[in-house]
Symmetry: C2
Subunit: 593 residues, 2 copies
Amino acid sequence: MCQRVMANPDDSGAPKEGGGGGDERFRVSCYWRRPFAEMRNDLNRRRPHYLSDWTDAYTRKVVSSALFMFFTSIAPGITFSALLGDQTRVDGRAQLGPVEVILSTAVTGSIFAIFGGQPLVIVGVTGPVTIFTIAVFNISDALGIDFLPFYCWVQIWAALMHMGLAASNACSLITLVTRYSCETFGMLIAVIYIYNGLRNLITYFVDLDPQPALLSLVVGLGTTWLALLLTSARSWSILNRTARTLLADYGATASIFFFCFVPYMGANYDLTPAAHGDNITASTIATLDVPDAVEPSADRGWLINPADCPAWAIVLAIVPALILTVLFFFDHNVSSLLAQAPEFGLKKGTAYHWDFFVIGVQMLVTGLLGIPPVNGLIPQAPLHTDSLCEKEWRTRPAGHSAHDKVEVITHCHEQRVSGLAQAVLIGLTLCALTVLGYIPIAALDGLFIYMGIASFGGNSFYQRLVLFITDPARRAARGLDFLDGVPSGVVRRYTALQLLILACIFGVTLVPYANCLFPVLIAVLVPLRIVTLPKLFGRENVDALDADGNAPDLARHSADADGAAEGTVGGAAAGTICAEDGEAGPGAATEVV
Amino acid sequence: MCQRVMANPDDSGAPKEGGGGGDERFRVSCYWRRPFAEMRNDLNRRRPHYLSDWTDAYTRKVVSSALFMFFTSIAPGITFSALLGDQTRVDGRAQLGPVEVILSTAVTGSIFAIFGGQPLVIVGVTGPVTIFTIAVFNISDALGIDFLPFYCWVQIWAALMHMGLAASNACSLITLVTRYSCETFGMLIAVIYIYNGLRNLITYFVDLDPQPALLSLVVGLGTTWLALLLTSARSWSILNRTARTLLADYGATASIFFFCFVPYMGANYDLTPAAHGDNITASTIATLDVPDAVEPSADRGWLINPADCPAWAIVLAIVPALILTVLFFFDHNVSSLLAQAPEFGLKKGTAYHWDFFVIGVQMLVTGLLGIPPVNGLIPQAPLHTDSLCEKEWRTRPAGHSAHDKVEVITHCHEQRVSGLAQAVLIGLTLCALTVLGYIPIAALDGLFIYMGIASFGGNSFYQRLVLFITDPARRAARGLDFLDGVPSGVVRRYTALQLLILACIFGVTLVPYANCLFPVLIAVLVPLRIVTLPKLFGRENVDALDADGNAPDLARHSADADGAAEGTVGGAAAGTICAEDGEAGPGAATEVV
């Protein structure tokens, strides 16, 4: 088995402003390291910054970021909890629901913000975990055993596997995940978000009466439009810089707030909020379905007794635990990679192994509480980092014919307060569940669409797709320097294959139950990238297309006005570029930081 | 009284591609010219081009332009006819309605396209004429005389006044109308269009049930959004130039078509088209209210017998005829000026006097038919010229720090076919009135909002307003060369005064009946510009701010991507720049053509 040595953290070439651990590069070499070695490295790297992780938080960005994260994190959580509540009923009573998902997000979010190595990673309940949980429920149902103790054991086993992987330095494997796999994954999540948002807005026309369906359409598309408009404020010429920054920072939050009120503006709307757990009727707009009180959905206490599970089932639980571990290994680490992409110019260092260990510890907690486990969220984690970055529009040096202004990241506020604050905010909603019951789901659908579009920014896969339909006469103006020297036929075929793969994986996500396996399909991308792609397109070409050297410059490109004309947004360049494949030149980082 | 001499048409300095009459400049001098002198000049100028006015029409632009004009011309016509039908009822039966307005637009549009001097001017029934007509109806009602014969006499007198003004070379007065008055007028019309469109979309929530109101909102704002998106296609990087041009040319038409179908997409809409003259109910979306058959709204034949009016009323009709003449003198000539703004680089020459004579002749026809009189439409006339222009995005010469690409007009298809075709199309709707009854009014509201926003393009008043809220640090990037040398405090006060005047005139338009006088208020702008403004701000400053020298360059600016971020559109730079104040340098025209 191959083991990795970490390169000297200080030879990354990125300029250091603070005395940070820097932008580590991994090199894969073939000898064993001692257990816990990388975890120790992680702790050594982050420990000097721990105090500053709290003292660096006195910035306005932390407030806007925490609010934005609160909405982007609670929105899918609530959506998935509705699915969970629907699909895990025993004698008509849900085993899991909104309270469990909110509790899980709040507790683990707080733990991760305080004890995690890289506090910029936002954790929460994901779609795959939801599907996985439903599959576990169906298995326990088929086997005639209680779901929650079985689910508890699945998490206990998976927690041990997580800790084992972290201790055995296995997370270094993530160095093999290049920009190619990350961007395909990022695009997949973006497509899923946009697809779900739009599908919901259309489905209302089937499920609801025309009036609430139309109102939902207005609220949903309005939320997306306003969020896109406001978050592009940095590129405006009007107002002053402070006002533009405020608008861009609070744009998505303001949009959600505004459109949550829209359905309540007209006095003559036939609108009865579906609070207090009542199901909505077809003649009312769909709002969040929340319970009356903070108590487990099932008829149980908060702690699960693992002894309630028969011995054979405890052993059997190892199988789903294995799947959950594979899922989290990719999902969490890719989310962590994306949140620490070189474009952000982070300085305090990474902690992949320690973080994965913390994820394991959290899984013990969630398992014993009988609530869903969490991992790093895409696109929320990269959006979180992005929202903490100070950005500027700078005139490009002469010689760049394309855009005379580019957005550059000047500094990122690396701290723990925004992550903790969003988790606490989510926890506080448990004290005001009734208020949540007034939120129109359509506004959250609009937020999903916004998040999907926002995460296109800086994704070179997306940029190459746009290149397909770009006028050849205007291609140079797009400034895609990474295409220099790669024949356009190769770019076209390489991108077409990537699109085909994306379509296949997206197809899999539409198949019930099979869809929880899609992170494994993403994993298949890694050997494909290393073995197959160079054979098909030539090693130099693939290396050039998959390089992260010019990533930051590209990442900032899409944010200018040109992008707006094609339906993309500037501002949020998240979910896109992940690097650390050992071939990145430091020059680009220099250009950005 | 002052009389004007026309400068040699060939000394305008604009480069000639064809052997055209060119861009005449007027000089005001103080001796009498012989009656009909200017009309003869007009005919001499246009006669050499008459054949080419038909042969130059073999271009794709003519098709897209005619379709676009059909919608932009019939939409307000139908809207005003609804108002007319409502306000001119005798024993519950309307004296005027959609049939009269459509007939008037089709007949006079055809006459003007064939016999008019400047066939790019689109004529039709305007808002002021509608209000004027209702006032005439109320007077005849109060006096106890038949409305239609009285209305006929008003038009006969006004027609004679029109012909007299044209014969006495009075239209040369229009040289005193500078960019200042034109742009204030253009902004006023744009604001009125946007105000009415939005007001209608909001009023549906009062008049209709929530469902049709919401559907109207989606259809209305959707139409505006899609039209703005598509007509900005020229600035895109995607697709090839032909496709972008097609999208930009047919964008508004396609948007209207699409959103007219939207309400009919869902099978479960409670939608009963208000065809066959039935009034819509509150539970259905508002569609055009059209009659069953092509016959006069009133119980009468098509020809009015002028003898049905008592002699004293015939004499009294001179008073409203005078008001109508003042109204048309400004409204028609400003519309004609805007349609021939220097930015368009027209080559075939102007015909203000001949055109005003034709307007008089048409008024005899409409008077005897008992249908409303027509004049040049704002913003339709300038939008018509704009839609016939071939445009290109060109890289600006070095030294312009601001925008590296600007849209320039390379050629304008000056011909009579598009004007005639749109009039014939409008006439053809009389054969398919029932189809018109399916058009949702909300789509027309959206078209109004689009027309208003589109006519901001290139309006330097609008650009100065945007400058108010522009970050000083980014002001240079807006490239408003005409502000060079003018102290920014002066620009601010000059623009604030213009805004105040705009607000006052807009306020007047909201007052019932007083509003038909608003063209007279616009006329007050002329002495204000000539006498008062130089006293307040200094002659040099006002001349610089009111110059049209750099107009074309400015006009094209707003069309780039920068503008899009502020809610303006490129593409349509209409309703904005009118010149011919004798001080224009030809340099700008050179830069554009």
